[in-house]
């Protein structure tokens, strides 16, 4: 456990992909089976513990710490596992002579609680002089496999005491790692793909070799390591329909475009749906099987049985999952109503018919075509789709013709009259793909670009700030901003129109944080109200994708995908925009009142990560 903890601790700080691979591979080389296999399982998200859940962690820490101190600490740290790992009271131990004259020992709530409630650590005999050093040295070496075994098999009633015992035996990093395992989100910037790449780095395999056998394997992956190290045969895989890592694009900036030759590229609409990979193949006994994967390789076949059933081709298609009604693509908000449902009812299927708009082909029949150029893959894709239309559930994403960048810019600005027709509302820009580009997993720079439509922007005044979590913890990073209700700017009052927590740089974050701390006029729990009058306050230029009517906001409007574009230190709050400006924009966009769906920019974000090549 100590080595695993040290690994993920180090990984959490390593910014470079190659550095991460080196660290993981180094761990795999030096840690024996089965521990390393469970580490691989943890890194690929293959572990889950039924009786050890975040709620239990909260319960354990609540029994051991003062609630006020815990709340202040959690607010500051912004991460439950880390807060608990840091606050967990050291088990009682023999006290060595203090090097300082300190007549009274600490009578802090935490310490008292620890002595009363942590019998497990008593008598370890490892107590040193503990005046400065935060914690006792851990009992050396609880194997990771043992930890996983305990967490997997311990019953609900024993779990609290067992987990507390484990926490008592670990140091801060060990506790953090253990709690991360339990909460199931390591969040150390290591994808399953990266972990598999590190396995491949043990020998001469390619990462895709690992992907192909992966679906048939289970922790602790001993035969996989044997194969990777050249000591054993290729593990047999039963799965004829594996996930193949997808190819992603870079956003196209003005400067990039200048250097690109329009003749070398093909363009497609960028659909506002969800990236999907549909794989259909025959098993050894000749039966056809179909799997649908998300962009990250998650098997989502179960959520779209109607679609999986309708597909008739053989191969692997890359495309966008959309909802079509009467041949017309529905908005992302409609699609969202079909996502993340536990039960997929007949009614849901009928109301939200799923559809694939195909734009690439990875496997044609049984032939891997990823090494062919885009144009050649496209020709095969067109043939495959026309041969197997799947009751209209599968169609082609059309190419957008253009001779130069101006023409493409015109199409991007007005998709409706450039071929997208009634589906234009589901277009969020164009994709540019080099005609000669091979299908390369990951995000290579150069072959594929996404060129999204320009966002709207508004100058709004910062009204409230809240501390962030995760990467932004301990900084005020969630901002609620407002615009003026009066006839002219600076008149009437400011009403909140949205909340944003990204778009700014780290340096800007520090500046806003400083502003918030110095200009707080009110505190509501974790939220600070900052000064916002016509003469005092901070103006934020907020970019957003669209507007909707909202019954949930007092202003009556809600922004889609708002983010901080710039800090306008130069602009007095009295010159920020008015609500009337937003309302005019709302009318100009012809947006339907849709308070249910578009009023929640936050909920839109999660699935958005899965959208086409973004």
């Amino acid at each position: 456990m100590n080595r695993f903890a040290a690994l993920i601790d180090r990984l959490a700080y390593e910014p470079r992909r190659n550095g991460k691979i080196r660290l993981i591979a180094d761990y795999f080389r030096h840690v024996p089976d089965p521990d390393r296999g469970y580490a691989l399982a943890a890194l690929t998200g293959a572990l889950s513990f039924r009786n050890a859940k975040p709620g239990l962690i909260r319960q354990l820490i609540a029994e051991r710490t003062d609630p006020v101190l815990f709340a202040l600490s959690y607010d500051y740290v912004g991460d439950l596992s880390e807060t608990v790992a840091l606050m967990w009271p050291a088990p009682a131990r023999l006290e060595g002579p203090s090097p300082h004259p300190s007549p009274r020992r600490g009578e802090g709530a935490g310490r008292t609680a620890s002595e009363a409630l942590s019998p497990a650590g008593r008598g370890l005999g490892e107590g040193e002089a503990r005046f400065h050093e935060g914690e006792a040295r851990p009992t050396p070496g609880i194997p990771l496999a043992e930890v996983v075994h305990i967490l997997t098999h311990m019953g609900r009633t024993e779990m609290p005491a067992v987990l507390a015992g484990l926490l008592d035996r670990l140091d801060e990093t060990g506790r953090w790692a253990l709690l991360k395992l339990i909460t199931g989100s390591l969040r150390i910037g290591v994808s399953a793909r990266l972990a598999k790449t590190a396995v491949a780095a043990l020998g001469t395999l390619a990462p895709d070799d690992i992907e192909l056998v992966w679906p048939g394997l289970a922790p602790p992956y001993e035969e996989l390591f044997a194969w990777a190290e050249g000591r054993g045969p290729r593990p047999e895989t039963e799965d004829p329909t594996p996930f193949r890592p997808v190819m992603l694009s870079h956003p196209l900036e003005e400067a990039d475009r200048a250097g690109l030759d329009p003749q070398a590229f093909r363009a497609e609409w960028k659909w506002d749906g969800i990236r999907i990979q549909a794989v259909r193949a025959r098993t050894a006994d000749g039966l056809a099987t179909t799997r649908l994967y998300s962009r990250t390789g998650e098997d989502i076949s179960g959520a779209f049985p109607d679609l999986a059933e309708a597909l008739a081709f053989e191969g692997a298609v890359d495309g966008e999952l959309l909802i079509l009604r009467e041949g017309r693509v529905q908005s992302f908000n409609v699609l969202q109503q079909r996502l993340n449902r536990k039960v997929v009812s007949t009614k849901l299927i009928a109301e939200f018919p799923a559809h694939i708009r195909a734009y690439d082909l990875l496997v044609d029949g049984t032939e891997d075509v990823r090494d062919l150029a885009f144009d050649a893959r496209r020709a095969r894709l067109e043939a495959l789709v026309s041969a197997h239309p799947a009751d209209g559930r599968l169609d082609l994403s059309p190419l957008v013709p253009f001779a130069n960048w101006d023409e493409l810019a015109a199409a991007r600005a007005d998709p409706a009259s450039h071929g997208a027709g009634v589906d234009a509302e589901a277009v969020e820009g164009v994709m540019l793909k080099r005609a000669d580009s091979l299908y390369v997993p990951g995000r290579p720079k150069g072959p594929w670009w996404k060129w999204k439509r320009d966002p709207h922007s508004v100058d709004a005044v910062l009204m409230y700030a809240q501390r962030g979590h995760g990467k932004r913890s301990s900084f005020y990073s969630d901002y609620t901003f407002g615009v003026w209700t009066g006839e002219t700017s600076g008149e009437g009052e400011l009403v909140p129109v949205g909340k944003a927590y990204f778009g700014f740089t780290d340096a800007e974050l520090a500046e806003i944080d400083r502003f918030v701390r110095r200009n707080t006029v009110n505190r509501f729990g974790p939220v600070r109200e900052v000064v916002h009058t016509a003469t005092e306050g901070l103006v934020l230029e907020v970019a957003f994708e669209g507007l909707a009517r909202s019954a949930r906001h007092r202003s009556g409007v809600a922004m889609r995908f708002p983010r901080i574009a710039r800090l306008r230190w130069d602009k007095p709050p009295g010159e920020a925009d008015r609500l009337a400006t937003l309302e005019a924009l709302l009318r100009a966009e012809g947006a339907e009142p849709d308070p249910q769906d578009t009023a929640r920019p936050a909920s839109r974000r999660a699935p958005r990560r899965d959208t086409q090549a973004s």
């Binding site: 815990f70 912004g78 300082h100 007549p103 020992r105 009578e107 005046f131 050093e133």
Partner: protein
Amino acid sequence: MRPEELLRSTPQGLYSPAGDFFIDPMRPVPRALVTHGHSDHARAGHGAVLATRQTLDIMAIRYGEGFAGRTQAIAYGESVEVNGVKVAFFPAGHILGSAQIRVEKDGCRIVASGDYKPGRDPTCAPFEPVSCDVLISEATFGLPVFRHPDPTEEMGKLIASLALFPERTHIVGAYALGKAQRVIALLRAAGHDRPILLHGAMERLTAYYEAQGVALGPVKLAREAAADELPGAVVIAPPGSLAEVWSRRFADPVTAFASGWMRIRARARQHGVELPLVISDHADWDDLQHAILATGCNELWVTHGQEDALVHWAGQAGLAARPLHLVGYGEEEEAESGGTPATDKENTASPGEAPAS
């Protein structure tokens, strides 16, 4: 005498109405008592400054010889009268020359402890608890999540990384006064005997430590190092310089940062630190509690940092406690933790220091 007549918070800083002097004032005043040389406590331009010899020397190095109208040195344990108020200085264990100041009149004793740490530090005199009625304590790390690990073990991480990446230069961000010298001393104690490369900003202060009898081994300016000295070398630089052009001369460096803030992972990541070293010159949560109780005070005033938690704890421990809102303190710490370049005093408010080079 009521404590507030002896010391109270004013916009200029902590002020003694009875003795007509300030402690660590932020703006120029006629008479100042200074706890230590960090720029959020020691400012130039006062009429008269009373401080330890070492603090006065450090101020002269940072601000130039004429940093105050006149100066008076006071030794640890020594006491003097200032307008009828008895004033005594005691070691704070924070950096070289750092002091706690006890003021006393008519049986009322208040200790302004400045920044302090009870932990072991060979580069300065060890902290002593000073008995008093009212203690003014910092709370930089006043949350139970801050329990500093053994600095020797933290330094072990740097030593291990040097072994793992012998071809890479290791740049350690460390505040120029105090932390830099402590990091060097810890490296020496861990057996690292190669010359340590310094950013220009810490050259004179490091030489001063050496002159005061703190053995730091061979050091040289990074800009004078030959290319073949860089692989596997340790470079100590102010935190603000880590992200700057200055550090680009080193090929593929490992970026470390020695600070108590490194305890919080998000903080370390926010600064792009690859090797966080939790080494602090401030009391941690446990230290604060022990140190406060050791003074026997019955009232606690909490200054910069996480006042809420410490005040809450003190209330439970039976002390009358309240936050003392002083403007300006702790901002050098923000700078130490890598605040924005525009507010980093390292770059703007220390004219006496060598420019980053």
